[in-house]
C-alpha cells in the first residue's frame, strides 16, 4: 500500500500533486516553493499526469487562471510563497468568494521589506481573513498527507472552499525526510473524481459567474461563506477519519503532545512544533510537567476545541512566527486569537506570546526550553511578567 522515500517538503507536495493528478495546475516559481513547480513540470514533461500545466507570467495570473479553471469545472492546484501570495492577494479573496475548491501549497516565507527568502508566517497570516481553509504541516509527511486531504475537504459539497496547506520554507521545503508515499491507486481512490456543481463548461446550461452583487444580495452571499466555514470543521474531521482508516495516520484539528497531564504548554505551528517535542521529552525527563499543542487547522479556527484542550493548564505560551503590527501589544496573530478564545469561554489561564524566527532566524531547543522555564515560573506565581517577548532579537 505504501513505500518510504527520502523527500524534501517541496518534493513531497509535488508527489501528492502527481498522485492527485489535477486537471489544471497554474503556478509561478518563487523560493522556497520553486522545486514543487519544477518537479511538477517534470511529471508533465514525462507524461505522468493528465494535467494542463499553465506556466503563467505572474502569481496574479496563476490565481486568476486557477479561478477560471476551477469555475470551468476542473480540479485545480497551485503553489506559492510570500511575495507570490502577496501578488495573488486580490484573487485569493475571489477564489474563496466564488467558492472555488482550489488547493494551494504555501511554503511559508517572510514578506518584504527587507527582502528575505527564509521562513516565517507573515505570508499566511496575511490571508487569514480571505475565506480559505488553512492547514499547517509540521514536516514533509504532514504536508503530503494534508495536500491529499485538502482535495477532499475543499470539494465537499457542504464546503466548496479553497484550501491552503502550509509548510515552513527551507526547514521543511528543503529538508530531506523519510516520507511514507502511498500507492498511486490508493491516493486516486481516496480523492475520487471531482463532480463540479455548476461548471461553466456545461455549455447547454449557460451560467453567469462573478456577477455584480449589490447591497440586496452581497451580504447573503457572505453569510453563505460563513456557513461553509462552519461546515468545514466537521468535514475536516470526517476526511481525517477516512484518511486514518485508509492510510493509518491520525489527524485532528490539532495535535497534542504530553498535554493531558501537563501544567504548562506551548502552542506552536509547523516545523517548530517538531523541535518543541524534543524539548518536551528532555524536560519530562527532569520530571517537569510540560506539554505541547500544535495547531493543524487554523481556518476555521477551532476555538472551543482549543480552549477545551488547554483549560486545565497553569500557564500557556503561544509562539508566533509573525507579528500583527499595531494589534494589541504588537503581538502575533495566533496569540491574539487564542487569548480571545480563552476569554470568550471564561477560561483564565495566564498566557504569554513569544514572537520568534522572523526572516528565518533559527529557533534552538534551548530557546524553547527557556520559554518552558518562563512558563513554569508563571505557573508558580500566577503572574505573566511580560505579555509579548521577541525571542532572541538584538534590541
Amino acid at each position: 500500500m505504501s513505500r518510504f522515500e527520502a523527500l524534501t517538503g517541496d518534493n513531497a507536495v509535488a508527489m501528492a500533486m502527481r498522485q492527485v493528478n489535477p486537471d489544471v495546475v497554474a503556478a509561478y516559481p518563487i523560493t522556497p516553493q520553486t522545486e514543487t513547480v519544477e518537479f511538477f513540470a517534470e511529471y508533465v514533461a514525462d507524461g505522468l499526469v493528465n494535467t494542463e500545466f499553465i506556466c503563467v507570467e505572474s502569481e496574479h495570473s496563476a490565481m486568476s487562471a486557477c479561478v477560471g479553471a476551477s469555475a470551468a469545472g476542473a480540479r485545480v492546484m497551485t503553489a506559492t510563497s510570500s511575495q507570490g501570495l502577496a501578488l495573488m492577494w486580490e484573487i485569493v479573496y475571489i477564489a474563496a468568494s466564488n467558492r472555488c475548491p482550489i488547493v494551494m501549497s504555501l511554503v511559508n516565507r517572510a514578506l518584504s521589506a527587507p527582502i528575505n527568502i527564509h521562513c516565517d508566517h507573515s505570508d499566511i497570516m496575511g490571508m487569514r481573513d480571505s475565506g480559505w481553509i488553512v492547514l499547517f504541516s509540521e514536516n514533509a509527511q504532514e504536508a503530503y498527507d494534508n495536500i491529499i486531504q485538502a482535495v477532499r475537504i475543499g470539494e465537499h459539497p457542504d464546503v466548496l472552499l479553497p484550501v491552503v496547506v502550509c509548510q515552513d520554507g527551507f526547514v521543511t521545503s528543503h529538508g530531506m525526510e523519510r516520507v511514507e508515499v502511498f500507492d498511486d491507486e490508493a491516493v486516486k481512490e481516496f480523492v475520487g473524481t471531482y463532480k463540479p456543481r455548476y461548471p461553466l463548461l456545461d455549455i447547454e446550461h449557460p451560467k453567469t459567474l462573478g456577477a455584480l452583487d449589490f447591497y440586496d444580495y452581497y451580504y447573503e452571499h457572505k453569510r453563505q461563506q460563513v456557513q461553509a466555514m462552519e461546515n468545514a470543521t466537521g468535514v475536516i474531521l470526517a476526511v481525517a477519519e477516512e484518511f486514518n482508516r485508509k492510510f493509518n495516520r491520525n489527524y485532528g484539528l490539532f495535535e497534542t503532545y504530553c498535554l493531558d497531564d501537563a501544567e504548562v504548554a506551548i502552542v506552536v505551528a509547523n516545523s517548530t512544533a517538531g523541535t518543541a517535542k524534543v524539548v518536551v521529552d528532555r524536560l519530562r525527563g527532569e520530571g517537569l510537567k510540560v506539554g505541547l499543542l500544535k495547531p493543524r487547522v487554523f481556518r476555521p479556527f477551532p476555538a472551543r476545541e482549543l480552549v477545551e484542550a488547554l483549560k486545565h493548564l497553569k500557564a500557556i505560551a503561544v509562539m508566533d512566527r509573525s507579528i500583527s503590527f499595531g494589534a494589541m501589544n504588537n503581538a502575533g496573530p495566533l496569540f491574539l486569537e487564542l487569548v480571545a478564545a480563552l476569554a470568550l469561554h471564561g477560561v483564565r489561564v495566564p498566557i504569554a506570546d513569544y514572537v520568534f524566527g522572523l526572516g528565518g532566524r533559527d529557533i534552538l531547543p534551548r530557546e524553547i526550553e527557556s520559554v518552558y522555564r518562563d512558563l513554569l515560573r508563571v505557573a508558580e506565581s500566577g503572574r505573566v511578567e511580560r505579555l509579548v517577548t521577541y525571542l532572541s532579537v538584538r534590541e
Binding site: 486537471d23 499553465i54 506556466c55 479561478v67 477560471g68 476551477s70 466564488n98
Partner: protein, 311 residues
Amino acid sequence: MATKLIPKELAKRPDRLSPGHRLCAGCGASIVVRQMLAAIDAPVVIANATGCLEVATTIYPYTAWRVPWMHNAFENAASTITGIEAAYRSLVRQGKIPEQNVKFIAFGGDGGTYDIGLQALSGAVERGHQFLYVCYNNEAYMNTGIQRSSATPLGAHTTTSPAGEVIPGKQQKRKDLTMIMAAHDIPYVAQAAPSQWRDLMQKTRKAVDCGGAAFMNVLASCNRGWRHATDETVELTQLAVDTCYWPLYEVENGQWRLTYKPKEKLPVEEWLKRQGRFRHLFRPENRHLIDELQAEVDRRWERLLRLCGET
C-alpha cells in the same frame, strides 16, 4: 456551413447578449459584442474584465448573457480565459467532457487591456492558448466616470486629464496596442470598428478559427465620455476610420493587410469636432494640439501603409 454574413440570415439567430442589459442607449460596447458573437456559429465561453460591459450586463440576480460567462477581476480577463481554456483542453483530453469546438473569448475595456491588464494579456497570448481577446476600446475608464487611459488620445478631456485653464486635456499621445500585440507574433491580430460590420464579423471568424491566440482591438464609442448624441455611435466610429485615426487592418501569421481604405482620407478635425471631449481644442490657443494629432495620425497611417505593402 457557416452562417452567411448577410443581415437576413444573421437576424434569425437569437442574440447571445440579450436585450434588457443596462448599458447606456447607444453604447458602442453592446453593438460590438452582439456583432462579434453573431459571427460565431460555434459555442462560446466568455470571460469579461471589470468595466462597463461587465457591470451593466450582470447585476445579480439578473444576467443578459445567454452563453457561459464569467467575471473574475479587472486586470485578469486574459489569465481567467486561459484557465478556462486549459480546463477545457484537459477535461476533453481525459474524456471527462465532450469535444464541442468551443470558442473562448475575453472582453476587456481599454483600461483593462492597455493599462492594468497588459501583462496578463501578453503572458496569455505568449503561452499560445486558443482564445480571442477583444479590447472594446472606448478610450477611457468609463465605468468609473471617464478617466484617462493609455488609449485616450492626445488633448482629450477626461476627469483625470481635464481641459483646464492651464492644461488643455490629456498631454500624452495614445499607446498603439494593436502594434504591440502584433509584435507578439501570434496567429491573428486585427483592428476593427462596428461601423464596418462585415469587416468586424469576418475578422472575428478568422480570429476564432486561427488555431491559437488572437487579439482584436475594436473601437467602441461611449457617448457619455466622448460627448455625442446616442444615435451617432456608428457614424462616429466610421469617421474615426475615414480620418485614418482608426485604420482597419489585420496581421495574419505575420502578413499585414489593410482591410479598408477610405476613398478620401478626411482631416482628423472632422472626427474631433463632433465630440464634446475635444471641444476645447478648437480654442485658438489649443489649435496646435489638433495639428499634433493630425501629424500623429498621418505618421501612423504612413507606417501602416508601408507595413501593408500599400506604398
